[in-house]
């Protein structure tokens, strides 16, 4: 304790603030991550099956989604926070705090994740899909028992990358007062010249990223034969 007080005095002066920041980052990541996972997987699957030569080919659907994703991926996150304010208010009931930043986080990360899923599913290749079709499997069954099942390792890797990106985005959540480690580092660390706060924030982010990467690798490895 003595040691900590000496090397990171500003952090130790208000550990409650550090705790709140870590919690806020985790909350933002978990909530938006969960929504992103569901939406991104769905979107990635829809893209894969509706594209030319897909098992439920719908070129119009594919092209519309494809363009929307490209547009969304081009918009910087800070702009999303601003232009989505009315939407956030409508969905979450507030424009600020952790609740206020979930919607822009989801909108910003879903298109990226959908592309990751699309690539993962494309890597399954047409062969196993064709084999399943020749056995008389339905398109829905092929989605779950072939496409998703065979791409678990790649989807796990894609999820890891997207979640880590998402943590990067949460650093900007300070704009709407959502707190989090990024905000903690800038507002209480950089602005006051308390560099120990910056280092501790970075340390915690590294910790969270490492845990996510570890879990992702583990899932990928367990499912690769």
């Amino acid at each position: 304790m003595e040691l900590l007080n000496r090397i990171i005095p500003n952090v130790m002066a208000d550990t409650g603030r550090l705790f709140d920041s870590v919690l806020a980052t985790l909350q933002m990541t978990v909530w938006s991550g969960a929504v992103m996972l569901v939406c991104g997987l769905t979107l990635g699957i829809v893209l894969t099956v509706t594209k030319d030569g897909g098992i439920m080919q719908q070129k119009a659907v594919y092209h519309v989604l494809d363009k929307i994703i490209n547009i969304c991926r081009s918009v910087p996150f800070v702009i999303f926070i601003a232009i989505l304010l009315p939407v956030t208010k409508a969905i979450m009931g507030t424009k600020i705090g952790v609740r206020g930043v979930i919607v822009p986080l989801v909108v910003a990360s879903v298109p990226f994740f959908a592309r990751q899923v699309e690539t993962a599913l494309a890597n399954v290749g047409h062969g196993p899909v064709e084999a399943a079709q020749s056995m008389g499997k339905s398109p829905l069954s092929i989605i779950f028992t072939v496409l998703l099942r065979e791409s678990i390792p790649s989807i796990a890797r894609g999820t890891t990358i997207t979640l880590i990106n998402l943590i990067g985005l949460t650093a900007m959540a300070g704009y709407v007062g959502a707190g989090g480690l990024g905000d903690y580092a800038i507002t209480w660390g950089y602005n006051y010249g308390h560099y120990d706060i910056i280092w501790v924030s970075v340390l915690f982010v590294i910790l969270i990223v490492s845990v996510i990467q570890f879990i992702g690798n583990l899932i990928a490895k367990k499912n690769t034969h």
Partner: protein
């Protein structure tokens, strides 16, 4: 019985229509092993995919036991596909499932219990002699082993038809032979109709009872494998057969070193090929005795197709011009195709 009626398949490739299959009509009888042979891009893979509608023909009918499956609903088609097994050049096993689970996967939805599915899958794996690998993953198997698993999987729902799309093209000659004899065994034991797509003449020769030759989307020749081999009509068919026969070598031999085949005046070099199944008559002896000519066999290449010899002999016939002519006529009467390669006026 599979009846393909006026099947056409046109793709759009970079805005250009490409006719992959042009107006193909074929009948494949029950319990046949039907070979469809052609060079790459001849449209044979597209055609075989039209049989289970993995490719929907642009026009034409696919009749299986009299029912036009192009008119089936999605659900009816899935039921029909369960009775049409298919194996592929690259096996298309599911890498995340064990060998056993790959077969069990095909059985899902068949109404069997989990234990029954396992039992049946194991039985099928024993049938194709790969049961010892039941718990292995496909990535640990060789090509031939993977194809055996794929065959077991294709047989899971007791199909009446087995479609083989270049099933041996990724395998070495030794393994190819094993897989072909396995297919032959399945045909003989279970009466399963097999449609075999290949660019390897050897595969067709080995097991097919009937053969169709495809070129540029059309079937240019079709018939009993023996007749197609013994008496090819189309130029492409002849080319194909040339790829497996050594008889062509004689031309090179005659040109490059005439000293190897010394000829006297009147002597002719002929190529004799069997076009009928019976070679029981001692034709060569008969000719020499009957006509007093000498027959010197310089080269022979005979293969067995559908249990009958095919191929021929290159021989030099010496004697008087009249006798030689008579001898040649006699051979032709006995259904031996005679091609004069060099010399003589016969």
């Amino acid at each position: 019985m599979i009846k393909l009626k006026n099947i056409c398949k046109t793709y759009m490739l970079a805005g250009q229509p490409v006719e992959a299959v042009k107006n193909v009509t074929l009948t494949i009888n029950n319990e046949d092993i039907f070979g469809i042979i052609g060079f790459s891009g001849a449209g044979k893979s597209t055609l075989v995919r039209c049989i289970n509608l993995l490719e929907r023909p642009t026009s034409g009918q696919v009749l299986i036991d009299g029912k036009d499956i192009t008119q089936f609903s999605a659900k009816e088609l899935r039921a029909a596909r369960r009775k049409i097994g298919m194996i592929f050049q690259h096996f298309n096993l599911m890498p995340s499932r064990t060998v056993l689970d790959n077969v069990v996967y095909a059985l899902r939805g068949s109404g069997l219990s989990r234990a029954q599915m396992r039992e049946k899958a194991l039985k099928l794996l024993s049938l194709v002699e790969i049961a010892d690998k039941a718990e292995a993953y496909p990535s640990n198997l060789s090509g031939g082993q993977k194809q055996r698993v794929a065959i077991a999987r294709a047989l899971a729902n007791d199909p009446d038809i087995l479609l083989c799309d270049e099933a041996t093209s990724a395998l070495d000659p030794q393994t190819t032979k094993q897989i072909l004899s396995l297919l032959k065994k399945l045909n003989a034991e279970f009466g399963i109709t097999i449609v075999l797509i290949t660019h390897e003449m050897a595969a067709v020769k080995e097991i097919c009872s009937r053969t169709a030759v495809m070129d540029h989307g059309s079937v240019i020749e079709e018939g009993e494998t023996f007749s197609v081999f013994a008496d090819p009509q189309a130029k492409l068919t002849k080319d194909f057969i040339a790829t497996t026969s050594n008889l062509k070598k004689i031309h090179a031999l005659l040109e490059d070193c005439p000293a190897a085949v010394p000829l006297n005046e009147n002597d002719i070099v002929v190529k004799l090929t069997y076009t009928e199944r019976s070679v029981s008559e001692p034709l060569i002896s008969a000719v020499t005795q009957k006509f007093g000519v000498l027959l010197n066999i310089v080269f022979a290449d005979v293969d067995i197709v559908q249990g009958a010899p095919i191929g021929g002999t290159v021989a030099v016939i010496s004697g008087s011009r009249e006798k030689i002519t008579e001898a040649v006529k006699y051979l032709i009467d006995k259904n031996v195709a005679v091609e004069v390669i060099k010399g003589g006026a016969a």
